[in-house]
Amino acid sequence: MLAPSVPPPPVRPRHPPKIQVRDLRLSYGGQEAIRGISFDVDRNDVFAIIGPAQSGKSSLLKCLNRTIELVPGAKQSGTITIDGLNVDELPSVYNLRRRVGMVAPLPVGLPLSIFDNVAFAPRAAGFKDKHELAALVEQCLRQAALWDEVKDRLHTLGTKLSGGQQQRLTIARALSHEPEILCLDEFSIAIDPVTTMRIEDVLKELKQRMTIVLVTNLVQQARRLASRTMFLWNGEIVEEGPTDVLFSDEPQSRKTYDYVNGIFG
């Protein structure tokens, strides 16, 4: 797998990629946040994005589900396709957002009951059947490894849970609309290591059913989970390739080596 001295040839996936990003540029009120990046994400894979703060990681995720449109002053160019369809040309942005689950850095328990937190998205999609809803909520909470802790108090406020529980609640909510792609933005930033490891186990399981895009501030997390990793710096791709290569002693770029080994960043 490793090619120590020669840069590895670009490995093309066997299937058509799940997500294709081409020459994506993004600016906030004239200030460039992403400067023309292109990459592919494979189906049912974990794709990690690492890089220091302000390198455009979170903005990139916002482009994937088009919530960037709701940020005042943001201007985007370039194309993003999912399953070969341009996301900007989809008839319904709400369907897109249901296909692309998003977990924000800080856990957000909506000021609703735990049950309603998870049932929010299905209800918004026009779902009414009570039994199916209950089954779906249970399944999502189980998948997010939260069910056992909250099954007796589904009707207490989601905002009263601890930080780690709220983050798993957020993941359960993101699963509730059955996404094909799950984006996680530095999910471990506000929770303890034990919970982080539990969620990582959850992700390993989910990977069999969906494509996961993982933005992380912990480079070792990328190493543990991802098969491909992208190093983003200042809105540009420094290096993108198999995780093993980025974390080897001789990645393509010296900067990558310095970053993953903690010499800067």
Binding site: R98, A125, F127, E132, E178, M210
Partner: protein, 319 residues
């Protein structure tokens, strides 16, 4: 293109109706209802603009006849003779009314500005939390007193009080109106002024206090300069409110068309004139129309004051 998600061991695969990532379609009625509602929301959003234009339009519409008929600009603005109902010698000079408005407002501001800003500084910087809550609630209640009650207070309380204290024959005068207007416009100054002071970052205060400055030195040297635009806006909004006040000045200023020579002279303001005479002027008569023109004049003055206040505040936001 879409491969169905592979079922995970141990979890029940989602049923088809729940399973589509696109979700079951929301009913057509729900989608339609929502877009109708959003249009209603947009309409309500722009309604404020419509109302402001509507006010200008309809007030001008009633007065426009006078604008092209009997209006003599020179007389209107520079004559103190207001005899709108005289049979032989009709005069529409509003100078005395303008002077009346500004004399009452000016004196009111002379009282209200120091007290209002002082109270704002006290509430924002010198007060314990409990006192602050209490004071703010009282000031809020002060703002809630209807202007007609203020007018009644002017007649029943201030009038004898002024006669007694200053030994003047009549207590319904500029001073009386100004005191009422001061009390009425202080609450808005305190609340906007406090907001302006609160908007100054705490780091400014800490930096100043850390250097050994007292609170007062901090206020004077750091906070007042930093918050000066907001405080100016607070004063302007107070002025706007005082200029437009009707009932209190109608009842308390003595109701005499007169250029005042001292605070103890009675006057009449623009607003009070409309309130007092509109009921008697027959619809469509020059007298009726000129009252609407005075309305436009008032509208313009307050519009300008508010516009300037808004620009001043926006200036703070940028700085």
């Amino acid at each position: 293109m879409n491969l169905p998600p592979a079922p995970v061991a141990g979890t029940r695969p989602l049923s088809v109706s729940t399973g589509s990532p696109r979700g079951p379609r929301r009913s057509r009625a729900a989608v339609l209802g929502e877009s109708v509602l959003e249009w209603v929301i947009r309409l309500c959003g722009i309604s404020a603009i419509l109302f402001v234009f509507g006010i200008f339009f309809f007030v001008l519409r009633e007065g426009v006849g006078f604008l092209f008929g009997g209006l003599k600009l020179g007389e209107f603005f520079f004559s103190t003779e207001w005899y709108p109902t005289s049979l032989s010698n009709v005069r529409y000079g509003v100078l005395a009314l303008i002077v009346g408005t500004f004399s009452v407002t000016g004196l009111a501001m002379l009282i209200a500005v120091p007290f209002g800003l002082g109270a704002a500084i006290f509430v924002s910087e010198f007060c314990s939390d409990r006192w602050r809550e209490g004071l703010k609630i009282l000031i809020e209640l002060l703002a809630a007193i209807p202007s007609v009650v203020w007018g009644f207070i002017g007649i029943s309380v201030m009038n004898p009080l002024i006669q007694e204290v200053f030994h003047v024959p009549v207590g319904l005068n500029v001073l009386n109106g100004a005191l009422l207007l001061a009390l009425m416009s202080v609450p808005i100054m305190v609340s906007i002024g406090e907001d302006a002071l609160k908007a100054v970052p705490d780091s400014f205060r800490e930096a100043s206090l850390a250097m050994g400055a007292t609170r007062w030195q901090t206020v004077r040297r750091v906070l007042l300069p930093a918050a000066k635009n907001g405080l100016l806006a607070a004063i302007l909004l107070g002025v706007g409110r005082a200029v437009g006040e009707t009932m209190a000045v109608l009842m308390a200023t003595g109701h005499a068309v007169n250029i005042p020579k001292s605070p103890f002279d009675p006057v009449r303001t623009l607003t009070a004139t409309i309130a007092a005479e509109l009921g008697e002027a027959s619809v469509g008569s020059p007298h009726y129309q000129v009252l609407f023109i005075i309305g436009i004049l008032l509208f313009t003055i307050t519009f300008a004051v508010n516009l300037v206040a808004d620009l001043v505040v926006k200036g703070t936001a940028k700085g």
